[in-house]
């Protein structure tokens, strides 16, 4: 970037986006409403997405859009359903220590940022050594057009296995704390067992939502499959596709009620699949070891005799690296399985807890109330197990 002309159009756009981000940050810090803060964080992510797209980091932008603006918002909304939606009032004396720590860290980061190389500097460490090797070697070593996927899945497949395991572990941690949400399937009394929109209003207010959700959910899953299998060619891959699948299931749960969704996609299935995904990933690595390579070496995914017999194989003079192609496809499927089912499990945990809370309310205010505040709580939950 040319800093000699500070007001070219790119710099102006960057400064504008930075200003918007700062304004949103100010809003997040000052608002007392946790609901508003969560929605502002979602907006913050969306503005960041614009910024990342401008910097040509479309894979990162995609991830930020689905994770930062999408699923994080849903999980955080589920979290405040279990607690409260207003921040506690804190004495200003108690804020001094944390504020000082935050400001000191921020000052250190700003000081460090001075030494960062300019955007796209070809001699910067990130671009000069290993990054350049990836760009030079991907076409004839991996053979996938999207270098980001090649780096993520093949060159640094071990790191990605770690990330997948972290997601799996996070799902385990959440369910250990909150349970699997299965109580909302079985233990509830009959009159609150299906606490979806049907109970909230006598007339069917929600036929529009149902129709729209029925039209959107299958298309969403189709799009997830596109993202999954298009990851070699463009932005996308298992992580993004997994989140999109989870979002489709969550949409179903929001509109048709948690119980129906839990009957369609059983909690024990999502639990199992999230473990199976990590196993698929690690299993692909072990197969490479069995065929004489190292862990996660997709060049040894198939025995040499078998792969050289495949059409257009690079071992017999072609240009297809079938081991790499199928290795990346299998581990991305593992990532898809783990990410989607872990997120669904986490959603079940939160939403199942809030239907427990709903049961407590019902028990405290028998008979099942149809008065306005009750309906408010149900509708605001948007059926997130309401």
């Amino acid at each position: 970037m040319d800093f000699a002309t500070p007001f070219d159009i790119n710099t102006a756009i960057n400064l504008g986006l930075l200003g918007i981000l700062l304004a949103i940050l100010g809003g997040i810090i000052t608002t007392r409403s946790l609901l508003a803060a969560i929605l502002l964080m979602s907006v913050y992510s969306l503005v960041s997405v614009v910024w990342l797209v401008i910097m040509d980091a479309v894979d990162v932008a995609f991830t930020e859009a689905v994770v930062g603006a999408g699923i994080s918002t849903i999980v955080l909304l589920g979290a405040i359903l279990l607690t409260r939606s207003e921040a506690l009032h804190i004495k200003w004396q108690d804020v001094i220590g944390p504020a000082a720590a935050v400001l000191a860290t921020g000052a250190l980061l700003l000081y460090a940022a001075i030494d960062l190389p300019a955007l796209g500097d070809p001699s910067s460490p990130a671009n000069a050594y290993v990054g350049r090797l990836y760009i030079e070697h991907t076409p004839h070593e991996i053979g996938v057009p999207n270098i980001v996927t090649a780096v993520l899945s093949s060159y640094r497949g071990f790191d990605t296995l770690g990330e997948t395991t972290v997601i799996f572990a996070a799902g385990i941690a959440v369910t250990i704390m909150l349970g699997f949400g299965e109580r909302s399937l079985s233990d509830l009394p009959a009159d609150v067992r299906a606490p979806n929109f049907d109970n909230l209003a006598e007339s069917d207010h929600h036929v529009i939502l149902r129709v729209a959700a029925k039209m959107l959910a299958p298309v969403t899953i189709l799009y997830a499959l596109y993202v999954q299998f298009h990851g070699d060619l463009g932005a996308g891959g298992g992580f993004q596709a997994g989140v999109v699948v989870a979002v489709a299931v969550i949409l179903h749960a929001l509109v048709f009620g948690l119980r129906d969704t839990m009957h369609a996609i059983r909690p024990e299935v999502t639990r199992g699949v999230s473990a199976v995904g990590v196993l698929i990933y690690a299993g692909v690595g072990v197969i490479g070891m069995l065929n004489g390579g190292v862990f996660l070496d997709y060049d040894h995914l198939f025995p040499v005799a078998f792969e050289s017999g495949l059409p257009g194989s690079h071992l017999s003079g072609g240009h297809h690296h079938w081991g790499q192609h199928f290795g990346i496809m299998f581990i991305e499927l593992g990532v898809l399985a783990t990410v989607s089912s872990t997120l669904i499990t986490v959603f079940y945990a939160f939403a199942g807890r809030s239907s427990d809370a709903e049961v407590d309310i019902h028990a405290a205010h028998a008979p099942p109330a149809a008065d306005a505040p009750m309906r408010a709580s149900g509708a605001a939950k948007g059926g997130a197990g309401a």
Partner: protein, 124 residues
């Protein structure tokens, strides 16, 4: 002037017009008295502004693959944006939020007129 240049000009004009619509919608969200009128402003300008913008972009891109993608995007917006507005209004109504009915007066220092007290004043 070739036909493509004309299409480009018209396309850019439509994109700017769509942006203007969205901006007017944002002003409406800030200025209108209660959630229903605000939703009205937001959802109509959102859907309409996006439609006009996508139409402009389609004119700019011509009959290519991009136009098909823009058409799909338009279908998605036409499906989701009004549904979201409907869901919000429905939730507000279920929560017992009453619309402000009657002559609308700008009350200084009281931007949120959706509360029951403001509603009472509006009826008077």
């Amino acid at each position: 002037m070739s036909i493509e240049a004309v299409l480009h000009l018209v396309g850019w004009a439509l994109v700017l017009f769509g942006a203007l619509l969205a901006f007017l919608g944002a002003i409406g969200v800030m200025r209108f008295p209660d959630i229903y009128t605000r939703l009205h402003a937001a959802s109509i300008t959102d859907t309409g502004g996006a439609t006009v913008m996508l139409l402009g972009l389609a004119l700019i891109s011509g009959l290519t693959q991009e136009t098909g993608k823009l058409a799909i995007t338009w279908g998605l917006i036409m499906l989701t944006s009004p549904t979201a507005a409907h869901a919000l209004a429905n939730a507000a109504w279920s929560a017992g939020v009453q619309p402000v009915i009657g002559p609308y007066r700008i009350v200084k220092g009281k931007p949120d007129a959706g509360s029951p007290e403001a509603d009472g004043k509006g009826d008077a």
